[in-house]
């Protein structure tokens, strides 16, 4: 057990950081949050570095096969720790700007990261559920962090209700699957999957619905725009990037090891994927609030990613897993970049979230405008950006799995998405600046994160080969 503990350091390091930050705040109250920040970043960095362990030690499972330590786990844990690390930088600027105590936010982020690390390593349905709960509850609180604003409280409450609803689906589904298979371990559940009892089918369907809420797949996506809008900007970024990554990590492992390639399941998932692409892109089409726009766009991206998940179920040995992970890498970088840039403006009221507040940004803040345009072009999948190869890989896998209809739908909805992504670019570059704009935050760290993400988008767009080989 002790030896196992050493191996799962990426999971307990954020947890330890969480406890330390809370303890420190009670025992030695600090004037500012800088100590908490360094503690948080230290534990995240530790988790990030230790996550590379499985590469050195080979694939193993620990805790009686409940947690997997393999390349898959490593890729996801590195990604999640990286996202969290970058988000803490914008948290610092953001909460300072709003004069809010940031210490608790760091503690909550660390708690959520612990849950995410569990989800992506889980090889047991109960561990999966535990992880999902652990990542969700801190986020409900984080959403309502600006607790004096009505909208924030409303958003947090909405997220909590929907989240609880989703969890109940998940746990009931797990119970049914347990009933059908007599175990919660993936390996044994998979054995029961072959018998395809009604109990098992209903159980998996309910589990997928529960996870569908978490990844914001249509028709379970209606919470996303409201919650994205209500949450503080860095938290929204964290939600869009890290939660989606973790939930897809959990789903992808289910797809690899448990979910049987039955026609009913594939058909159901295909319908959900198609619906998600359509609803996400249609919803984003006419948004004028940039947070809602990004919420719908994140729904659309979930739809693209589901194609990869389906391809994985069809042939678990194929490259589809790497395609999903690669897409999540590119998506996380674009999302973090976009939200970090928006933190520069620190505006949370309705006007501040309106796209028109970005009019003519290229005149007043050329670098920020360029970065933002790069993010949006990358999300649209324009060549020379990371998003292009992300979509490219997914489409290739879709062809390999003979999913003609879904690949055509991906192409068509991408075209639709071009409309609203370009609308942002138009606002940035082709409109005259409007009135007075509140000054932006000056922060070296924030600029460094933006620069690093922007550079990563371009580098992955120009030369993705190293990352592709690494993920394979």
């Amino acid at each position: 057990m002790i030896a196992d503990l050493a191996q799962v350091a990426p999971i307990w390091m954020p947890a330890a950081g969480f406890l330390l930050v809370l303890l420190m705040e009670t025992v030695l109250p600090q004037k500012d949050s800088s100590t908490a920040l360094s503690l948080t970043q230290l534990s995240l960095l530790g988790a990030l570095l230790l996550a590379f362990g499985p590469v050195a030690n080979g694939d193993t499972t620990v805790f009686a096969g409940m947690l997997a330590l393999d390349r898959f786990t490593m890729c996801f844990q590195v990604l999640i720790a990286g996202i969290a690390l970058l988000i803490t930088v914008s948290c610092e600027s953001y909460f300072k700007g709003w004069k809010l105590a940031a210490t608790e936010a760091y503690a909550l982020i660390l708690a959520a990261v612990t849950g995410m690390m569990l989800v992506v390593a889980a090889r047991d349905l109960m561990v999966l559920f535990l992880g999902i709960e652990l990542l969700s509850i801190p986020l409900y609180v984080l959403t309502a962090y600006r607790r004096l604003q009505d909208t924030a409280v409303e958003g947090g409450f909405k997220y909590f209700l929907i989240g609880a609803f989703a969890s109940s689906f998940l746990i009931y589904g797990i119970a049914l699957v347990y009933g059908a298979s007599g175990s919660t371990l993936y390996a044994q559940v998979a054995r029961a999957a072959g018998t395809s009892s009604t109990l098992f089918t209903i159980g998996t369907a309910m589990m997928l619905i529960g996870l569908g809420f978490k990844i914001a797949a249509a028709p379970f996506h209606h919470w996303a725009p409201d919650v994205y809008q209500a949450a503080p900007t860095p938290v929204t970024g964290f939600m869009a990037a890290a939660v989606k990554t973790a939930a897809f990590g959990g789903l992808l492992r289910l797809a690899m090891e448990v979910l049987p390639a039955t026609p009913a399941l594939l058909k159901g998932l295909s319908v959900i994927a198609g619906l998600t692409m359509i609803m996400g892109n249609l919803g984003a089409l006419l948004q004028t609030n940039w947070k809602r726009l990004l919420a719908y766009s994140s729904v659309a991206h979930a739809g693209y990613l589901l194609i990869g998940v389906i391809a994985t179920i069809v042939s678990p040995e194929s490259d589809a897993v790497s395609a999903v992970i690669f897409y999540l890498f590119t998506y996380a970088i674009m999302t973090v970049c976009a939200f970090t840039i928006m933190v520069f403006f620190l505006r949370e009221n309705r006007e501040g979230q309106d796209l028109s507040s970005l009019r003519g940004l290229s005149r007043t803040h050329p670098y920020l405008a360029f970065g933002l345009a790069l993010c949006f072009l990358s999300m649209a999948g324009i060549p020379f950006t990371a998003g292009f190869f992300g979509k490219f890989y997914l489409l290739l896998m879709a062809w390999k799995a003979d999913m003609v209809a879904l690949s055509v739908l991906l192409i068509l909805t991408s075209l639709l998405s071009l409309y609203y992504y370009l609308r942002v670019v138009v606002t940035l570059y082709m409109k005259a600046p409007s009135g007075s704009r509140s000054p932006t935050i000056q922060s070296r760290a924030l600029s460094a994160v933006t620069l690093a993400c922007g550079a990563a988008i371009l580098v992955l767009g120009l030369y993705p080969a190293p990352l592709l080989e690494f993920l394979h």
Binding site: F384, F389, F392, L396, I411, L422, V426, Y429, M430, A465
Partner: protein, 509 residues
Amino acid sequence: MNELGMLTALIALPLVGGILLALLPGLRPEPARILTFALMLVTFLLSLALLAIPAGSSWNEGPFPWVPRFGISYLLGADGIAALLILLTTLLAPLVLLASYGHVHDRIRQHCVLLLLMEAGVIGVFCALDLVLFYVFFEMSLIPLYFLVGIYGGARRVYAAFKFVIFTMAGSLLMLLGILYLIHKTGSAAYPDLLRVSLSATEQFYLFWAFAAAFAVKVPLVPFHTWLPDAHVEAPTGGSVILAGVTLKMGTYGLLRFALPLFPAAAVDAVPWFLALSVIGILYGALLAWAQRDMKKLIAYSSISHMGFVVLGLFALTGTATSGAVLQMVNHGIATGALFLLVGMLYERAHRRGLDDFGGLAQTMPVFSVFLVLATLSSIGLPGLNGFVGEFLILLGTFRDHPVAAALASLGVLLGAIYMLGLLKAVLFGPVRNHRSAAYSDLTIREVSMLCPLVILMFWIGLFPGPLLRRIEPCVNQMLEAPQLELSRHREEASPVPRTATLRDGSQP
């Protein structure tokens, strides 16, 4: 040649230059423009080396693995056709920059960066021999143009730029889907590999139309042409010149280089469609141009008509017609480029460009008038100027197999003369309708030096087309090899009935 060389240099020079220009801190706008001009001039001079490519062969660079997991490599190649189109690009780019002195007074550096990036993209399109690389360059040339139109254009610039991108992307995304299928099927995106792959008739059908969609929008073929008048009218002069001069050619080039040789059976089946659409384009474009009272719109619609000729020539699938089509791509770039430059010059003086706003300019602006007459005559296809050679070859080559299409197309030549001479009459001759026009100064030395290279080329190609055709023909024959084989197979399959008929006729005493 398998090492990096001239082609890479031609792409890298404007690309790296553009990036450096964007990043260089503290550079004033005017030095930036001079620097850009110098860079474009060097690129042009370097590209003259492409004339050394021996007829019938090509320069290749690569393949170097780029994304081995997807079978994508960095593979460039330039034969006679590509060389001509690259030369056209590198020639027009500095002229466009010179033109920008007249109308770009704000955000100059950004304008220069966009022009350089676009030049790199267009050169890349004409020499990329890996399909993904081609796609990347195809889009890379699109985005700067989008910004050029959207930032520096006229009143409805945002709408026009938007429409342009959405139309083009709709086509090119279908092509991407096709490219992905080819990679899935063969594991490689390299053109030489794909030429060896045998595809079933159904596969060819879908792939051909996916590729054709991307190129037909770009050309543009009727009915995908509606973005073009908007984009042309709203674009700044430089944008119009680049758009008409080179980016439309990316469509016809793509049809010739990729759609015809890779999917010959489907291409042969599609011939009637393309002939019909191009003839409709020729006539419809010409009639619309005739009806316009705005000079830029008139030239835009005439472009649709002229590009219809190019597509007609390509799909006639005879060496003569297709060579004529390639030559006509170059000719159209020169003539239409010159026309847009001239209209731009007039617009900078008058701030209007209606046909009815002028008159009698031959009196007040004699130098301008001479150039306008020459550009117009080249566009009409007057013997002795470049336009004649291309149109003549296209019609000659088409007539053998498709006399009706050729006859209808020659009607387009007639219409072309009517509306273009109408333009001359309204603007240069007749009564003076705008009394301020007496005050317009004639062309400056800068403007004359922009037009001179184009006029020289008009005469040179018109009088001595031989050297160019000698470069074009062997390459065209290579491209047409597979489709022509397919065509003769078709004829053999179709002929048994008439042949037995003649035999029976012959046996009867």
